[in-house]
Structure formats: C-alpha cells, structure tokens
C-alpha cells in the first residue's frame, strides 16, 4: 500500500511539473509582450529606459533557464510573481477570487452528483422502456448544451419570465441558485451516463436474483446491493469531471457577472497577463491531479476486492 501511494504521488508530481513547464514555455513564447502593452502607452510617458528598468524588475533580466528556475522555485514556495496587469502579487488576486469559485464549483459538483444519481437510479428502477430510454437520453442532451447558453436561458426563464430569482441584488443564496444549476448540468451528464451503465452491468450479475429470491424488494436491491457495486466507476468519472468543473466556472462566472477565478482568467487573457494565466493553469491542474490522485487512493479503501491486488 505504501509503495503504491508513493508511486502514484510521484507520478502526480511529475505530471504537475510537466504541466507547469508546458504552460510556462507556451506563455513565454508569447510574441506580444505584456509589459510593452501596459507600459508603452504614450499617456504614461515612460522612456524606453524606464521600460527596460521595469522589465528588469519583472524578469530580472536573467537567462531564460534561470528565469524558469526562479519561477518554478517561486511556485514551490507559493510565490506566483506579480500580475503584469495590476502590479499586485498574483497570490493576492488568486486568494481574492478563490472563495467565490470554490463555493460555486463545490455546490455545482454536489448538485451534479445528485442529478446524476437521480437519473441513473430512475433509469435503473424503471421497467417502462420509453421512460428508461428518455432518461438515458438526458446525459447526451446535457453535454450538447453550451454552458453559456444554458445560463442565459435560465436567467431568461427564472428571472425575467417567472420573476423567481432577482437579476440584481438578492441574497447570497439567491445569487447562487442559477449559476450552480448552470454549472451542474454538463458535469452531471458523464457521471449519470457511467452510473446508469454500471448499474445495468451490476444488475445482470447472479447475486441480484439471489437477493431477490430471499425476498428483497427492488428498491432494497438497487440501493443496498447494486448501488455500492456500481458507484466505483462513477467515482472515477466524477474525479475526471473536475477539469470541466473549472472550465465551466470560467464561463458561468462570465455569464452571471460573478467575481472569481473565471473572471480573473478572462481578464488575464484580455490583458495578456501571463503570470496570472500561468498561476490559474497550474492551480486548475493541481486541483485536477490531486482529486484524481485521491480517487485512485480511495479505490482500495472503498472496494475490499481491490485491496489484495494492490498490496
């Protein structure tokens, strides 16, 4: 077990390092220079000399390799450099934006799991083929809907038509309802799909008729016996949706005008603010890799059958 843990952690660290390096190299290739964009503005009246000075303060004028090493060491210490756009430390901007996005993404993920479980179990329980068919078609509809359009549609229906959720103002909870729903829909789709499929597979196993013969009701079988066996593949997929969750937050925050990592990303792209973009990409990758590492490590804990195979 310890060896497995060590191996997986090592792999995850390697992927993180490679992701950092790839993003760093990509963003350094940038032809448009973000420092020039900001400071060459004639209104600022800076001489070329002063601009060179500013540049030296940003990258130290060191060789590319040294600059890379400095940035990498900075990231390891939690120092992400300075935003070219606002001049404030990137860490501060991230820390400001993170809580809002974490709330949105966390609530969105929980709702997505709930939606997925309802769809998959209703499909697994239903004996009427057209209801089952309709339920199983829902995930492919969900993934085909543009997130931003869904958000707009929800605003239109719930805020403007029905007047259920205020467009401006309203309590914190009221402001969260529609964004969370928007975010949850595309995340729910893959989880529901895999869960429904694995419920089907488990229901075909011989132990199901045995439990039924002992007198268990269909709900009992589905909930107590099938669900536990079917949950593991869904857990893997749920881990993989974290990438989509972060991407969805970017779009959702833009549509609903919420501040957060998504807004920060949008501003960074518009201002070619490479330090912020690098930090956002690394943060998103860390979340994704750590979550999936956790899922991998949890697997043997949740499924006794895997314990011997690993140890």
């Amino acid at each position: 077990m310890a060896r497995y843990l060590l191996l997986r952690t090592g792999q995850a660290t390697l992927v993180l390092w490679a992701a950092f390096t790839t993003a760093y190299v990509l963003l350094q290739l940038l032809p448009g220079d973000s420092i020039l964009i900001k400071f060459q503005n004639p209104e600022l009246g800076l001489s070329p000399q002063q601009i060179a000075e500013i540049r030296a303060r940003y990258d130290g004028g060191a060789s590319p390799l040294a600059a890379y090493a400095t940035t990498l060491l900075g990231f390891l210490r939690g120092d992400f450099g300075y935003s070219v756009d606002t001049g404030t430390p990137v860490v501060e901007r991230l820390a400001e934006a993170l809580p809002a996005t974490a709330t949105l993404a966390g609530a969105g993920f929980l709702l997505a799991v709930l939606i997925a479980v309802v769809i998959a179990f209703a499909a697994g329980y239903s004996r009427t083929s057209w209801i089952r068919g309709a339920l199983l078609a829902v995930p492919s509809l969900f993934v085909s809907v543009p997130v931003f359009w869904l958000g707009i549609l929800l605003i239109q229906v719930f805020s403007f038509r029905l007047g259920l959720v205020p467009v401006i103002g309203g309590s914190e909870i009221q402001q969260l309802i529609l964004p969370v729903l928007t975010l949850a829909v595309p995340i729910a789709a893959p989880i529901a799909q895999i869960l429904a499929r694995s419920i089907d597979r488990v229901q075909a196993q011989p132990f199901v008729p045995v439990v039924a013969a002992k007198g268990a009701s269909r709900w009992w079988i589905l909930w107590r016996h099938v669900a536990r066996n079917a949950a593991l593949p869904a857990l893997t997929v749920a881990g993989l949706t974290f990438g989509e969750l972060i991407a969805g937050s970017v779009v959702t925050e833009t549509v609903f005008g919420r501040n957060g990592i998504g807004r920060l990303t949008e501003q960074a792209v518009n201002a070619q603010d490479t330090p912020v973009m690098l930090a956002v990409v690394v943060l998103a990758t860390v979340v994704f890799v750590v979550v999936n590492l956790a899922v991998d490590v949890l697997f043997p804990v949740l499924d006794p059958r895997l314990r011997t195979a690993v140890a």
Binding site: P31, P146, V250, V281, T285, N292
Partner: protein, 302 residues
C-alpha cells in the same frame, strides 16, 4: 501461410471500405438497442444525418435558404418576434436572425473542421508514433498526453489564444490542440491492438517494411474508432468554438458567428428571447446530431 491469406483478405476488405464505414453505421444500429432487426435505420440517426446535411448546405449555399442579408439590417424592422417573414425574428438593428444563423454556419463548421483536423493529425501522429516505437519514446509521448489531459480544455485553449491572439483560425487551432490528447490515446491503443494481429505479423513476414505496413495495414484498420472520435470531437469543437466566440475571442462583431450571436442577444434578454434562444438551439441540435452519428459509427465498427 494461412496467416498471410487472412492478412490480405482482411486488409483488402478494408481497403474497399472508406465509404462502407458510413453505411455500416446506418444499418447495424438496431441490434444493440434491443430492437428487432428490421433493416430500417433508426429515426434518431436519420434525424441526426438530416440536421448535419442541412447545416452543411447552409454553409455551402446560404442563398438557397434565406433571401435576407446577414450583415445589413432594416432599421424599421428591428427586434421583431419570429413570424413567417422572419423565421427567427430580427435583432436590434433589424437584421434577420435566421439569415445570420444560416450565414454563420460556415464559421462554426469550418472552425470545427480545422479544429478536428489539427487534433486528428497531431494526435494520430503522436499516438501511432508512440504505439509503434514503444519503449522510451512511447513513455515520453504518453506522459505529455497525460499532461494535456490534466489541464482543463478551456484553459488550454485560452493559453493558446493568449499565445496566438484572438481570431477565428486561432480559436479553431486552440480548440484542436485541446483534442490532441484524446486522439493520441485512441490512436496509440488502436495501433498497439492491430499490431498484435496475425495479418500484420504476416505482412512483416512477407517482407513488408515498417512504414509501408503501418500505412497499408495498421492505419486503415485502426480507422473506425478514430472516425467515430472525430465525429464526436466535431460536435465538441462546435460547442467550444461557440463558447470562445461568446467570450469574445473568435470572430469580430459584424460576423454572424453563433457564439457571438448569442453574446449580442444578451443585451435584449428581457424583451427579445429569440435572439439568444434560437441560435443556441441550433448549436444544441448540431452538437447532438454529431454525437449521435459518432455513436453509430462507433457501434458499426466494433
């Protein structure tokens, strides 16, 4: 000896069949969904093919579908609700929305085409290289693919956009880069699978050189799942391109790109529902159709 014969047979069978792929997809769908085999294609699939056909026609001959100008508006007819004359209504400067959606299809379709081509070429190249070379190169390439998979797609696309700048082609390339990993993984697994078959060994045995065997036998026989993935990615690319268009990194405003149309319609949410709802519904229909076709191809070649 028999190995060589089956090898030729199988390989030959597949050479006949670039076209066959599609028809197979149409015919065999009924089997798995539990329907009786009637020889009749499923309605869902027929609808999907129809949707794609119509949208492709929109892109090729927009004049056939609408007489209205997509760029120049008639101010007197601004913000009209959908009716017989303006199927999708009109926007704030009196442009016919249906005409804008029809003329916009060429941007979404060509963008998605570029994106899938980038992903397919780069991904298949990397994947088949990894699958055929094995060893250290295989490891190196597949770790790179892991990295690409662990960066969220949209952020990867935005990074590429920071690098290349906004614009229709750059957005398409950015989206394509995001799909490289999926293609590479699939191509690698297919190459590894096909390489172990008897007929490929037979081709080597009868003196085939590596690149020739790869090109003549391995690649054509790995094609089915790759085509299915390409169809799926085509739909996903349309979705991603409209998202980036909505965020404002794609085409410039007078262009009737689908994401941009929805973004422009946002200012009239309270009064003109059709400006955002209808273009979005078209996007959903196209993406759904691409997914449906992809599933059929996938099943047909299993």
């Amino acid at each position: 000896m028999s190995g060589i014969r089956t090898g030729k047979l199988l390989a030959g069978k597949f050479h006949a069949g670039g076209l066959r792929l599609r028809t197979v997809g149409l015919r065999t769908v009924g089997l798995r969904t539990g329907r009786r085999r009637t020889g009749r294609p499923e309605t869902g699939l027929v609808l999907a093919v129809l949707v794609i056909a119509v949208v492709v026609l929109w892109a090729l001959v927009p004049g056939l579908f609408t007489a209205h100008d997509p760029i120049a508006g008639v101010p007197a007819e601004k913000l009209r609700a959908p009716d017989a004359r303006h199927l999708f209504g009109t926007d704030a400067v009196g442009r016919d929305l249906f005409a804008r959606v029809v003329h916009g299809s060429v941007h979404s379709l060509s963008g998605a085409f570029v994106a899938v081509t980038v992903g397919l070429l780069l991904g298949t190249l990397l994947g088949s290289l990894a699958g055929s070379a094995g060893g250290l190169l295989d490891d190196a390439i597949m770790r790179l693919v892991d990295v690409l998979l662990s960066v969220p797609g949209l952020l990867l696309a935005l990074t590429v956009i920071i690098l290349l700048g906004p614009g229709t082609v750059n957005v398409a390339i950015a989206v394509g880069v995001g799909s490289v990993a999926a293609f590479a993984r699939l191509a690698r697994s297919e190459v590894v699978r096909v390489r172990r078959t008897d007929y490929v060994e037979a081709a080597f045995g009868s003196g085939g050189r590596y690149p020739a065997v790869l090109w003549r036998h391995v690649l054509p026989n790995s094609l089915g799942p790759v085509v299915a993935l390409a169809a799926l990615q085509f739909g996903m690319a349309i979705l991603a391109i409209s998202t980036l268009g909505f965020l404002g990194y794609g085409a410039e405003p007078p262009t009737p790109e689908w994401g941009l149309l929805i973004s422009e319609g946002r200012n009239y949410l309270a009064t003109s529902w059709w400006l955002t709802t209808l273009p979005g519904a078209v996007v959903v229909a196209v993406v759904l159709a691409a997914g449906r076709i992809s599933r059929s191809i996938g099943r047909g070649t299993e």
